[in-house]
Amino acid sequence: MRTEDLVELLSTDIEPVKKDALAILVTGSLLVALAGAFVLMAIAFGIRPDLANVITTPIFWEKLAFPLSLSVGAVIATSRLGRPGASVGGVGLVFLILPVVCVWAAGTAVVYGAVPADRALAVFGHTWRSCPFNILLLSIPGFIAIFYAMARLAPTRLRLAGAVSGLLAGTVATVAYCFHCPEMSPAFWSIWYVLGVMIVAATGALLGPRLLRW
């Protein structure tokens, strides 16, 4: 077929493009990710019984702020990388890096401030073995939804786009996991939450080139 015929084919009877298509896709997948992670968390692990008490403490909100601000960075990065030629973006990077730096600083302070006998508890808590894998489990619905959305956008850097899609699924899963997880030490979050999110992001980077090709 001649290229002119294809031009003819594509330009005959075209539909106006919906201007908010990208926002709808990203928002929709984000809602599925949040709902999926919360439902899974409630069923598989259960909401922590003392939630009513801990929500009155600042440390609970500091903990929640960590994955929440990472999610904001991941949403920015995901919506940007869904468009040809765009990068993660400065604002996105700040939201992705700053929370980690803060939590690492707080974690280090907690460990150094604790008496030596308590240091291991501050880092490992009681649930370090399961924590990253629990986050991985909670991220599955969001991972599927976000990849579905990303595949309907037009990423040109597939590995990076896959990684930030995984990052978004992982951070949203961690937000939900905060309502179950009993660990209240920044040193714990700085390692095990980050590890859980990184596993999901790495899975995304691995699958990106395969699943997002268009």
């Binding site: 077929m1 001649r2 290229t3 002119e4 015929d5 294809l6 031009v7 003819e8 084919l9 594509l10 330009s11 005959t12 009877d13 075209i14 539909e15 106006p16 493009v17 919906k18 201007k19 298509a21 990208l22 869904g82 468009r83 040809p84 030629g85 765009a86 956008l153 037009a154 040109t156 090709r213 268009w214």
Partner: protein, 186 residues
């Protein structure tokens, strides 16, 4: 090309593209045919020895631009957006080719002596009408009537016994499936 010319070309193509995003078919046709020429120049410079692949790649890039339309934001330069897509398709082509060549014998070099030298665009090797035959009937007929025979959506809907929105959906899905077929056929 003069710098000023590049800027005015950007402005002209951008204006055409933006009105085609609002559904202006005439602008879109103009935009796509101009884009075709630029892509031909772009690709001939980058893969001068693969002339038979250039038209295929142009067509694939046009389809990609068509499918990515909803990701363009008018506040960004059109050139950067188009370039990212063209580059992506070219890289994808290299990857596919590398994979294929590692499985098969490389193409004989001496055959190139007999390749024609001309300035005419070559026909793409993949015929879209042939590829159309692989699509489900509803998609194939919708594309055939609306896109290739120039019938209206309403006429096609009556002819096929579908609702108008079903015809639009079938055209949309059909073109998407066509792009996927093209990728596999490359």
């Amino acid at each position: 090309m003069e710098r000023a010319t590049v800027y005015s070309e950007e402005a002209r193509l951008k204006a055409l593209f933006i009105s085609s995003l609002d559904g202006d078919a005439v602008s879109y046709r103009l935009f796509l045919s101009d884009l075709t020429r630029y892509l031909r120049g772009y690709l001939r410079k980058r893969i001068p020895k693969m002339r038979e692949d250039i038209e295929d790649l142009i067509q694939e890039t046009l389809l990609a631009v068509h499918h990515a339309r909803h990701t363009y934001r008018p506040e960004e330069p059109l050139t950067a957006w188009i370039h990212a897509i063209a580059r992506y398709k070219l890289m994808d082509f290299f990857r596919t080719r590398a994979r294929r060549d590692s499985l098969n014998d490389p193409i004989d070099d001496h055959q190139e002596i007999f390749s024609l030298s001309d300035d005419e665009p070559e026909n793409a090797r993949r015929d879209i009408r042939t590829l159309l035959n692989y699509l489900p009937d509803k998609q194939r007929l919708s594309i055939l009537h609306v896109k290739l025979q120039g019938m209206s959506i309403a006429e096609t809907a009556t002819l096929l016994g579908l609702s108008e929105s079903a015809v639009k959906v079938n055209v949309h899905r059909g073109i998407k499936a066509l792009a996927a077929r093209m990728r596999e056929a490359l």
